[in-house]
Structure formats: C-alpha cells, structure tokens
Symmetry: D2
Subunit: 351 residues, 4 copies
Amino acid sequence: MTNKIPVGILGATGTVGQRFIQLLEDHPWFEVAWLAASDRSAGKSYAEAATWRLPTRIPQRVAKLTVNSATPAKDTPKLVFAALDATAAKEIEPKFAEAGCAVVSNSSAFRMAEDVPLVIPEVNADHTALIKTQQWYKKNGGFMVTNPNCSAIGLVLALGPLHHKFGVEKIFVATMQAVSGAGYPGVPSLDIVGNVIPYIANEEPKMEAESRKLLGTLNGNRVTPAETILSAHCNRVAVEDGHTESVSMQLGKTASAEEVIGTWNEFRCTPQKLNLPSAPEQPVYYDPAPDRPQPRLDRDRGRGMSAVVGRLRPCNIFHWRFTVLSHNTIRGAAGAAILNGELLRAQGYLD
Amino acid sequence: MTNKIPVGILGATGTVGQRFIQLLEDHPWFEVAWLAASDRSAGKSYAEAATWRLPTRIPQRVAKLTVNSATPAKDTPKLVFAALDATAAKEIEPKFAEAGCAVVSNSSAFRMAEDVPLVIPEVNADHTALIKTQQWYKKNGGFMVTNPNCSAIGLVLALGPLHHKFGVEKIFVATMQAVSGAGYPGVPSLDIVGNVIPYIANEEPKMEAESRKLLGTLNGNRVTPAETILSAHCNRVAVEDGHTESVSMQLGKTASAEEVIGTWNEFRCTPQKLNLPSAPEQPVYYDPAPDRPQPRLDRDRGRGMSAVVGRLRPCNIFHWRFTVLSHNTIRGAAGAAILNGELLRAQGYLD
Amino acid sequence: MTNKIPVGILGATGTVGQRFIQLLEDHPWFEVAWLAASDRSAGKSYAEAATWRLPTRIPQRVAKLTVNSATPAKDTPKLVFAALDATAAKEIEPKFAEAGCAVVSNSSAFRMAEDVPLVIPEVNADHTALIKTQQWYKKNGGFMVTNPNCSAIGLVLALGPLHHKFGVEKIFVATMQAVSGAGYPGVPSLDIVGNVIPYIANEEPKMEAESRKLLGTLNGNRVTPAETILSAHCNRVAVEDGHTESVSMQLGKTASAEEVIGTWNEFRCTPQKLNLPSAPEQPVYYDPAPDRPQPRLDRDRGRGMSAVVGRLRPCNIFHWRFTVLSHNTIRGAAGAAILNGELLRAQGYLD
Amino acid sequence: MTNKIPVGILGATGTVGQRFIQLLEDHPWFEVAWLAASDRSAGKSYAEAATWRLPTRIPQRVAKLTVNSATPAKDTPKLVFAALDATAAKEIEPKFAEAGCAVVSNSSAFRMAEDVPLVIPEVNADHTALIKTQQWYKKNGGFMVTNPNCSAIGLVLALGPLHHKFGVEKIFVATMQAVSGAGYPGVPSLDIVGNVIPYIANEEPKMEAESRKLLGTLNGNRVTPAETILSAHCNRVAVEDGHTESVSMQLGKTASAEEVIGTWNEFRCTPQKLNLPSAPEQPVYYDPAPDRPQPRLDRDRGRGMSAVVGRLRPCNIFHWRFTVLSHNTIRGAAGAAILNGELLRAQGYLD
C-alpha cells in the first residue's frame, strides 16, 4: 500500500462511478480503496459488477476490489466520492456524513441545501466554509460538499471571472447536451439517432438555481445567491460527450470584446494557485476560430477540465453572445468532484 | 399534355431542386415542363444529370426531360421556381425576370431587396403587392418573389399570429439545424457525426433581418420591417431534416398560455382560406407533450408544411419560452416556394 | 362499426405493436378492435398507455380504446396479431390459441416449433398447412402462425426465387441492423452513437435456422428444412430503420448476372396473385446503381414491404456477392404478420 | 535543433497529413522539418494552410513552418512521409525517390508495383528487401515503401500470425468503415447520418490484392502473393474512427479456439523485438467479451496501433468466425507509415 489518501466511491459501477475510477488511477494524492454499489453488485469483484464503458482499460488493481453495499462500514475511508442518482443519494449520503465521512457528491439531492456547499473551486472555493455549519461536522467531522449539474458547470466557469469583474445580470442559454449526461442505459438510441430531444427532466430549474448559488457570495454562515437572472433551454443531441451552450449575456457594466476575452484567457484562481492535481492550467480558453468550440474537438482541453469559449459577438438584445463547451462527465461530474476533494484537502478539511 | 400550368425549375439537380420535382409530382395546378441546371448538366436527361437523393423514386416523366442551361429560352414557362445558390441566383434570376418570367426563388440573393416580396403566405400574403413596383413587371410582366431562409420560416410561422395579436417585441432564438439545410455535398460527415457545429456562415444576420421584413407592414410601395428585435444563435446538429429552435419571447402585451396556444392552434390564414393545394390544414400545431417537438417525429406534420410548437412555459427574462420545429427542405425551401407560386396564381399574378 | 374483420393486438404498446396499429389504419379487410398489453397498461386508454414513437399521428379511434390485460376474453377477436417479446409470448400466445384464436405472431418463441408455420407469403405460403396439425386447431380452430426474425426476412425474400430456380447452397451474410430492431428503450444511445456493436444476442442462430425452415419444403405434415448452409455475422449500427446485409452466395447451378437480376425483378408470387392488400407490387427490386441499397433511401420501397437488392458482382469464393436491404419493423415485423394474416384469410383459415 | 532525424511530409494539410504531424510530435527519432502541400498552400505557414481537424492542439513548432510546393528541394530531408491521394502520388512520389528521398507512402498508387514493398512490420518486415531492386536506389539511394489500405491492415495484422502457423486459405470479410477513412471533406453528412453506404470505390479489389501481397513470401527479388482467396464486402457507417470487420476464415490445418486466441495474444514480431518507438506492445488483443471489439471503445488500444479481435466462434462454412477492429487513421494510415519509417531506420535503409 502507498502513502496516498484512501478514498471510497459510492455508486461505483455507473457511468460517473467509472469516470471516478478512471480519473483516480495514478492520482498523486488519492487512491481508490473502497467501492460501494447497489445490493445487486455487493460481494462481486468490481470487474464482475461493472459493465465498463470507457475506452481506457479498467485499472487492474480496482478490478479486483470487492464491491460493498452502500452502508458505512469500519473500513470505509474518510473521503468518499458519491456518484449516486438523486433518489439514492437522498437516503444514502447522509448516512455516510453521519458516520464521519467527507462526502464529495455529484448528486443533485443536496446541492441546494442551505448548509451544503455547492462548489466550483475556480469560482467559489470560499463556500466550503458552510461545512462548519453542518451538524455532522460539529459532531464528528463528517460533512457533505457538492458540485453542480453538468449543464451549469461549463457556463458558470465562463461566467465566474466576468461576474466578479463586470457583474453578470442576465443570461439566456440554450444547451445541446451529450447523451452521456443521462447515464447508462440513459437515452434510448431510437430517441436520439438523427434527432433532437428538446427536453431534459428538471434540468432547466437546476441549471438556473445552481448557477445563482455558485455565483453567490458567502455572508457569515450562508450563501446569498447572485441576482443574475437565467433563462435556460435544455436540449439533448446525438453527441457522446461534451455539452455545447449558446449564451446571450447582459453585464453590469459594459466591457469590450478584448476585456471579456482577456478576462477569460487570463483567469487563474484558487485551484491553479494551490496547484491542485486535477486543476487545468487554464480553466477557460477562448478559441478565436469562427466555428468553435465543438464537442468532438474541444471537450478534452485541459484533460477535460477546461471550458472552451468561442464566437464572442455582440448581441442585439444583451451585451454579448457566445458559445461555451465543457466535458460533461469530466469537468461536469467526476472531475468536478475530484477537484473538490483536492480543494478540501488543501483547505485542511480532510485532516 | 394536360391543362396544368407548365413550370420551369432553375437549379433542378440540387437537393432543393429535387424537392421541387418531388413535391410537384401530381400537383393539381402545376406541371414540371422545363428544367435548367449548370452547363455541366445541360443536354443530359434529368435522370443522368441529377444524383437523386430522396427516398421516393424519381418521377418517370421528369427523368426523361432534357436539362437546359440556365438561360431564358423560347420554351421557358412563365412560372419558374428557382433553387440556385446565392451567387448563381444573383446573376441568373434577373435574366429570367427580364425575359418576362415569374421567378419564385428560394435563394437569399434578392430577399432583402426593397422591391422584392419576401413572403410566407400565412403571414404576409399582401406583400406580393411589391411586385407591381418592379421594373420588370412594368415592362413585360416578369417579376421576382422570394421565400425566407429555412431557419426563419418555422420561427416566423409561429410568431406571425402572435405578432398580429399581441406584438412580438424581442426574440432570443437558438437553432439546432439539420444537415440537409446545407445542400449536397454540404456538411462533411467528419464535422457532424457525434458533434455540433455552433456556426453557420451568414445565417444569423439573415434569420434576424428576414424575420423583421416578414413581420413588417406594407406601406404603399414599401415594407416597413417590424420593430421586433431578434438575437439568433445558429447551430448545426446531426439531424437529416428538420430545424429545432429554442425561443424566448417578449410580447407587446401580456398573453396567457391559453391565449398563446389557442392563437397557434386556431390560426388559419390566406392559404387556408384560398384552399391552396400545398397549404397545410393547420399551419401551426401546439403539441402538449413535455418533450416535443422532435425533428424525427414531427417534421412531416401537414405533409412537412406545418410548424410544430411545444414546451410553452414562462421565461425568467421575457414572457414565454417555447420550442418550434419545421421541415427545412419542405416548409423551409421547396414547399415554401411552391406555396408562394400557388398564392401568386390565386392572386392573379400569373395571368 | 364496419363490416371489416375485427382484430386484436397483443403487446399493443411496444414499438412493433405501434407499427401494427399504424399499418392497420384504413386497412381494407381488418380493423383494430381489441388491445392487450402488460398489467401496468391494462385499464388505461391506448393513448395513455402507449408512448407513441412513430412520426404519423396515433389513430384517433384506436387512441380511445381501452387496453386489456393479456388474457383471452369474451370480446377477444378470432384474429390476434402478437407483438410480445419471446418470454411473454411463450406463456401468453398458447392461451389465445387454446381459446380458439388465430394467433399471428412476430415473436421468436414458437417459430421453430415443428407444427407452427414460419411463413413469408412470397416464399412458402404452402407451409400454412401445418396449421391443420396443431392440437388447438383440431379442438376449436385456434392456431398459431409466425413470421421470421427481421434479419432473416429480407435475405430470404431475395433468396426465395433464386432457391426455387437455381438452388441456394451456401450463404455468408454480415448484417448491419437498425436500432429499431431492438425495440424501445432497446439499445442505449451511449452504445451506438458513433459506434458499431458487433453482436446481437441469439440473432445469428435464429437467422440461420429460420432461413432454412423458410426455404424448406412441406412433406406431408412436416417441413424439411433446406440444406442451405448459412454463416451469419450480426452487427448493430446507428440507423433508425432498415437492415442492410452483405451477402455471398453459392448456387446449386450456375446462373448469369442477367438471370439472377431477372429472377428478382420478375418475381411475383402468392400474395401478388391473390392481390393481398399489404403485398408489394414487386417483392424484390434490383437497383443497378453502384452504391445502393441504402437504408435511408430504400427502406420504404413497396411501402416498406419490398426487399431492395444491389451490387450483384462475382464473388471470389462463391458465385455471387450482393447487398440486400429491407425495412425491419414493416417487412421485418408488423407488416410481415399482417401479410400473413391476409394470406390466412385468403386461404380460408379465418372462416 | 535537435539530433533527431529530420523528416518531410507530402500532403501535410490533409487528414492523414495532420495525423502524421500529431503522431510525430515528441517522436524520439524523427522531427518534422519540412512540409509540402498543393500550390494553393505553398508559401503559407502551416497554421494558415491547414484546417486542423484533430482534438489535440496543432504543435506550435510545426504551426510556424512554411509549407512548400510538392517538389524536391535542397532542404528536403532524406526521409519523406507521403499522404497524397493516389492521382497526385502517381506523379509526385517518383520525383522524390528520383531525388534520392526515402518515400514512405500511405498512397495506393504504387502499392502493387512489383519492386515496391508493401509492408506491415509485424507481418512482412523482410519485404523491404525489394528496395534494393528499385532503379532509384541503385542510382542514388532513393526509394519507395508503402503501407496497405486502412481496411486491409487490421485484417492482415490478425491474419498474419495465423497464416504463418496454420495457413489462411479463404476469407470472407464484410467491413463497416469509419468516415475518416474517406478524408476531408470526404463523405457528405447527408449520405451517412442514420444511414449505411454499401460501397466504397475500388476498396474491395484493393483490400483483396493487398492482403495477398502482404501475406506473400519474398523469393529472391520478388514477392509471391499468398494463395489465400479473399472475398470482401466494403461498407461505410456513421463512425468517426475505427474500421470494424466481420470475418469468416478457412485455415490450412485445423486449429482450436485456444490455439487461435493464444496465437493472437502471444504474437510479437520484428517491431516489438526491435523496440520500434511506435510499435504496440501487443499487436493483436483478443477480447473475450461477447460484444467486442467496438470502434468507440477499442480503437485506441496500443495507442491506436493494435488490432482488437473478438467473438471467435465456429463458422458453419469455414473454420472460424470473428470480428476485428483497428484504428483507420493511426494503424491504418499515418501510424502505419511511421512504423515503416522506424523499421527502415532499424534496417539501415536510411543511413
């Protein structure tokens, strides 16, 4: 065994669970030591339990681990990444926080809870202070931290630096979201081959509310959401990975194209300063080509952890129009949670 | 030979030209009698010249017609449908108007010309009066009429009845457009399989300007564009046919969901009253299902001539959000021009 | 009510069930009068119970019918089309035959049973004689007839006329099958967008065994399978409808390209002679273009009931290579069963 | 400048040219020093001339190189990788060999020429001896070496070790080829979205003839093609990268499944022994999962240089059926040529 910090994964067999395992292979700080999934999988080896759907090979060490049922046990590590669906998360995650675990969750179940930090480390790293208000933390050091929905994360990564500099007042956003965002089996192929589905259940309210919390400010023990108004239109398209979003934006004060683009390209924040292992060197890239970003070509920038922006042009109604893209299962799910885990360690919450 | 009105087709071998021939087969009023294409095709039979790309068979009578070069000739019919690209149209279409032809064009070349009607018969049938101001018409009865861009037509079909009743003040629209809109060979498959292209050259300004002209009002000899402000985001997706559009809309006076939906479903206009052969029974359908319209399932409503609207819900910024879909090569191209031709006949311009 | 023959549909809410309802609308002989599905759907109106996935509208009369549970009842019609999956069919279909129904099934459950006819009316209409050997038939006139797997039907439609003329000895066939063949939700989109799955569970043995039975000969009370040897490779591709198959064929005696193509194009058989309503005018079309048949362009020939063959060229190992295509949910499923129903009526089995 | 061997690239701006540049970045032996493309590109920087279509960034050093016209010049390196289409290759490649260059070509133009080696280093590394019979080589050391068509390479990589051990007598193969194999713009999206094209011009004869030459034996100055008979069916599907092939195989002597699979998994050959930088550790992987290989999941094995085989099962006609997959623009094009270049260096032909 190494000196790395052992981590557990809840929901280890699903698509996001698999991404956790893929991204944590050879992680400099963390090591997958404990896996849990549904009772159907419990007792099997991970290789047996999971239908591995990623193009890289299943890590050999993890393949042999035995899958546990999703209950805190003696050997459950302190740090647990959670990739459960919202219904399961609602029931299971609190049990792990209760048991003293640091639950770093990708689920929507508790994102909007008053005392649960919803965090993108480049945007609102200070919100983790909410941890100290959690009952679990006071009792035994357990707590819960979440990352946003895959549709909100690319948008807010691009809006964050602009909001702090110019204020973001209004956002119209129409998404074209990849099928991997729906998990597996997820979207039936008959619904999406040669088609568009202009609807994703509950996605628009989540995207709007989470963005406001992420851009909000910490006041004492609570986060005051930003006053930014968002109107989201969420669509599903026949893309494997990478959410593309058409955005119109009204700022608090005018900014030139140069200022906006400069703000994006020069943006570095807490994860870059702390040199967190999963932090992209540059969180937001502006691509000046007329027809970028595109999911197939740009989703992997910054090892899937950067947002790529393009097509900045004046809007006839608001100030600016642009397109933003991010990798929905890396920056938009497992990678987001891992970066949160790294932040928590750097901030001392795992000690 | 029948008693039908003979018609010519310019650009007969391209994708829109093929749609003209498909849709005009068994047309009750018109009969394809004359075909023209590039010099490369001239002299060949249509079957030889065209790489037929539609799922229906090439009409046998037309297959045997000889393709002419794109120059007005003695046997060119009075009514000519034009499916040329903009560069060719700019040069060729005026020659046919000059020669006394009624040029019913799908090209963008003259859509925004002051004396050229840009028409959706359900929306602004009266704009054809501009014909009388054209020099050609005064000289020898020749004239030119156009239909809008495939991205504008579904949107304006949905906005038309609302605009006349409530006023449409502001529109945000993000499109997800089918590959057939780019013609053949058009979009390379490497660019679109598993991908989104967030850019279509010149599409956004066209969509915005044409919509304003279509919703505008005829004042004497000129059309005053509507004051509606539009901000368009045009995207290409891996769909064969059918443009899907996410729309946020600010009205001039408030309207309830019931009023908006009622206005759509009850909307009937000139083509329905005149019983034009290609007019859909119902130009706009509202589908109450949460996940409609979808291109694969809804593009063929009203034989591809209806717009289908769905997901009407309040917008956080403007009054309403909704999704609209229309068939881009039928209602958005060849079918639009044929309906214009039918309108012109009913209005007496072909006499 | 009309004078049409009332029919029931088992498994009415699934994709094949929906095709039955679509194809039976305005059928000259049959009228949908009774619907059954799983207990979850029983008691609901069909519109409520089914998630209608076809581009045409749900027929209004059928939408209002109440869905029954899948048990023979007093009002169950004599003729019942069955679109159940194999496990359900195994249990349910015999109950309906037992109750005196003519069960015309699309399921694989009983296709290979010795006394159950497996029929393509153009190929082996005489095999329906097996009905008379069924216990049910002897007791109360109930019986069961099946149509083959969607991958076998296009192939055997093309092979049938050649087999009777030249003998088909060996077949190597590799399929590229549409996702609709797997039903709904069926194939997860993550598995097929930008991908190929070189495997369909149980498909290859079914395709091989069923083809031999279809090409077999009726000897007294039993069908002797053809001696044709088949080697099938079944693949799934990102196509909505239409199975494409690459075939190499060894004949019993040599035949020229002209003879093979002529045999296909001139082939007419029982359904054409009997003028059955769903029979295509021409069951097999040979398309001489170098790059046909293609699913998107050719699947709807003969209203989806014809097979389209192309690329006949010498094989380096067997006599001939070619490509065959057929519509998998029309000719390969619901349309096949309806044509069987029509054949049975014409043969007097429904009297 | 480094001590690396400078290399030139002919046809540097196309899709295969771009792969060369991507794969040669940070190559331990070679360094891109000279670029050539059509006259339209000559004089521009590479960044200006090429429409870079790969998900990785354009290497900064190469981006600044000036593109030359495709004529040998003083600064043309000895080693030149060629990514020209066949027509251009026919004219241009001999000029470079004539000028003393080692032309390592991906084009089909000279693959079947008697004195030109057609090489897969794992299969027939000894065939490079043909170089010594080339007039150019005798005169000034210039020569030409080629790699096979992208459809042949995966197949022959799998067949090679079997052929040497058991003899491969007959092969039926049906391909499902990715769109990137057709270059850019290549296949129009209207032809392939939701579709299959059962035809690729000239592909089948190339695949058959090249496979026989690759499996052939060097006798003195000439290669005697293998007596293996192949019958190929080539299809295009909506996949970005990765050719999937369904194969039936007759061996010279019987071999058990274990022997066949063992032969594949244990196969190592010249490139592995010579430790060539681009050689995959394991050239052929057998995947025991029932539904593999799949292009999206398996094309990148061995950094895109391995073939993945699966579904070995008895064939009803020949001995065995299986599926093979390889990356068509890496192992099937640029990677193949680079490995050939590495082999030539190891064999001393570049000295």
